[in-house]
């Protein structure tokens, strides 16, 4: 039950963006991807979603090569949240969340619809915003709505045992401190329910606290992938970020100024 990226290389006009990256996203883990701007994080995530076809290397979901899964089957396996685009028409918050619901042809699955929407909007603290117009919300609130939509896409009845993955590109961008922590807690909760989560983070402290493993990428190459205590090495991080860092090995707090 993994997403497997094997020997991924990707280049545009002879400019190498990713070079020979291999990693697995396992069931029930939070795998954070960190690295400086332009290091290839988003590209790697988009290779994992199936949006970008790598120049060489292979991507598989649960041992199915991604080319063999049509786009609807892919949407059953994984939910994606990335930097979102402006929505032109005046949809309500509830309508945007409901866009994550994909009919799956399973008996009685449809009957869970209302329950699932309710469950997820309460989990994400969005109940009071459901009737509001999406376009009237602040940037952070809009992000939370998109997150809820991604959760609805991966909602399953509790007896389900399907392999599921969440791929998130800086999910906490624009969030205030409270909802930043809240979203990471939800991500942790979903991982404990068995969803494999692969996310890009900039905040090393969040990564250290909430990840099961951290992957460090620099100039298109995977430098290290390991549990936070082993991955966050001050010498290595200084080389990559060009910043002096102090890491408290007890609390795993990272200070860089």
């Amino acid at each position: 039950m993994t997403i497997k990226l094997q020997n991924i290389s990707y280049s545009v006009n002879n400019h190498k963006i990713l070079e020979n990256v291999s990693l697995n996203v396992r069931k029930g883990e939070v795998l954070s991807l960190i690295g400086p701007n332009g290091s290839g994080k988003s590209t790697l995530l988009n290779v994992a979603t199936g949006d970008i076809k790598p120049s060489s290397g292979s991507v598989s979901y649960d041992n199915n090569a991604i080319e063999d899964l049509n786009i609807v089957e892919r949407s059953f396996y994984r939910g994606v949240m990335s930097q979102s685009q402006q929505i032109v028409f005046d949809f309500s918050v509830q309508e945007i969340i409901e866009m994550g619901w994909i009919e799956r042809g399973l008996p009685n699955y449809s009957n869970h619809f209302d329950k699932a929407v309710k469950e997820i909007s309460s989990l994400c603290d969005l109940e009071n915003l459901l009737d509001r117009k999406f376009n009237k919300l602040s940037g952070g609130e809009q992000r939370r709505v998109h997150f809820a939509r991604t959760l609805l896409q991966l909602w399953r009845p509790s007896n389900s045992n399907e392999p599921l993955f969440m791929l998130l590109d800086e999910p906490t961008a624009n969030l205030d401190l409270y909802y930043e922590i809240k979203m990471m807690e939800i991500i942790k909760l979903k991982a404990s329910e068995g969803i494999g989560i692969f996310l890009i983070l900039h905040d090393l402290n969040l990564a250290a606290k909430y990840s099961d493993r951290i992957a460090i990428i620099s100039q298109g190459a995977l430098i290290k992938i390991d549990e936070p205590k082993k991955a966050l090495d001050p010498v290595l991080l200084k080389k990559i970020y060009n910043l002096d860092m102090v890491i408290d090995q007890q609390t795993m707090k990272v200070s860089y100024f």
Binding site: S84, V88, F89, E95, M99, I102
Partner: protein
């Protein structure tokens, strides 16, 4: 564990949940606009330069002259007006959704201009090159549809098969194609004789006066078939509002959706323009009004725009027939006269919010 579903099965699932994403208010608006369409059909068929009661016709107490006027002149005309209104309304709504732009309408991607060029060629050059007996009354609509099809083909060619480059590019190509078609119409206008010029001018103002069963009957069948192929994809149009990459990740084949919406619009608009001339603002204004009334989701918006477009077009045609009797006002003039100020109000309203 691979999920055992083939692509068509999954696709039909996406289309199947029509009632899940439509609310009670929207259903009642749909019912009301449908009733409005039926009612306006009856009213417009009864009123005219002389009035005929539908009840007399149904009870067979009307005279044979009345029957003839109703059957041969009024009915095809009223049905054509409804058909054109529905076509413009629904293609406006779906193109606005596809381009994620509230100002898109069939005119914008050059389809109307292409159809107009095709029609202008027949009006100005037709009689001297193609003898009447070959295509008979179908020559003008056929040429207009070919014009619309040519524009679509050019769009397809320049955007590499409506590719994955985003719709802005397609809009720009549409503007260029539009300009090219205007050049063609300009040249034809320049070389036309006085009487051809008159025909051309009246055609660009729009009229349902030439409606007859030979033309209207096949048009009804094609337009209704096309619309019923379009409506099941309204859920995908909703998802597209999240952006093309997001829609793709939710399982929408964006390229196929573009192809379907654009081809369907070209067919219904090409047919409408060919049979009635240029009728402005309906494709733009009707979807807006429906969004203001009931909401923005396409399950509701597409059928509502079709019904409402049909009913206001039937009424506009009725007004154009009776306002300055015994003469007739070009209906395109009327829709633009009402549509343009409404559009201004709309722009004003968008700026304020």
């Amino acid at each position: 564990m691979k999920l055992q579903l083939n692509y068509n099965q999954v696709n039909s699932l996406i289309r199947s949940n029509f009632f899940k994403f439509i609310n009670k208010n929207q259903i009642s608006i749909l019912v009301i606009t449908l009733l409005m369409t039926v009612l306006s059909l009856f009213i417009a068929a009864s009123i005219g330069s002389f009035n005929i009661s539908i009840f007399d016709y149904v009870l067979s107490t009307s005279t044979s002259l009345e029957n003839k006027v109703l059957e041969q002149i009024r009915m095809p005309r009223v049905l054509l007006a409804g058909l054109v209104g529905a076509s413009l309304g629904i293609s406006g709504a779906s193109l606005q959704g596809l381009f994620r732009n509230p100002l898109a309408d069939p005119g914008l991607i050059g389809v109307s201009a292409g159809a107009a060029l095709g029609a202008a060629i027949v009006i100005v050059l037709g009689s001297s090159f193609i003898p009447d007996y070959i295509f008979g009354p179908f020559i003008l609509p056929l040429s207009a549809i070919m014009g619309a099809a040519l524009v679509i083909y050019l769009l397809y060619l320049f955007t590499k098969g409506f590719g994955y480059q985003g719709v802005t590019y397609m809009l720009l190509v549409g503007i260029a194609v539009n300009a090219l078609a205007s050049v063609g119409i300009g040249i034809l206008t320049f070389i036309s004789t006085d009487s051809e010029l008159r025909g051309l001018t009246f055609w660009t103002m729009g009229s349902f006066g030439a409606a007859n069963w030979t033309l209207v009957f096949p048009a009804i069948i094609i337009v209704i078939a096309t619309i019923s192929l379009l409506i099941p994809f309204s859920r995908q149009l909703d998802l597209l509002q999240l952006g093309e990459p997001e829609a793709y990740r939710l399982g929408v084949d964006v390229k196929a959706l573009k192809f379907r919406v654009i081809i369907s619009s070209a067919i219904i608009v090409g047919i409408s323009v060919s049979l009635s001339g240029m009728i402005g603002f309906v494709g733009l204004v009707v979807p807006h009004l429906m969004r203001l009334l009931g909401g923005v989701n396409h399950n509701y918006l597409l059928p509502a725009s079709a019904f409402f477009g049909a009913s206001i077009m039937i009424i506009a045609d009725l007004l154009s027939r009776i306002l300055i009797q015994p003469a007739e006002l070009p209906v395109g003039l009327l829709t633009s006269a009402i549509g343009a100020p409404f559009f201004l109000w709309l722009i004003f309203r968008i700026r304020k919010t």
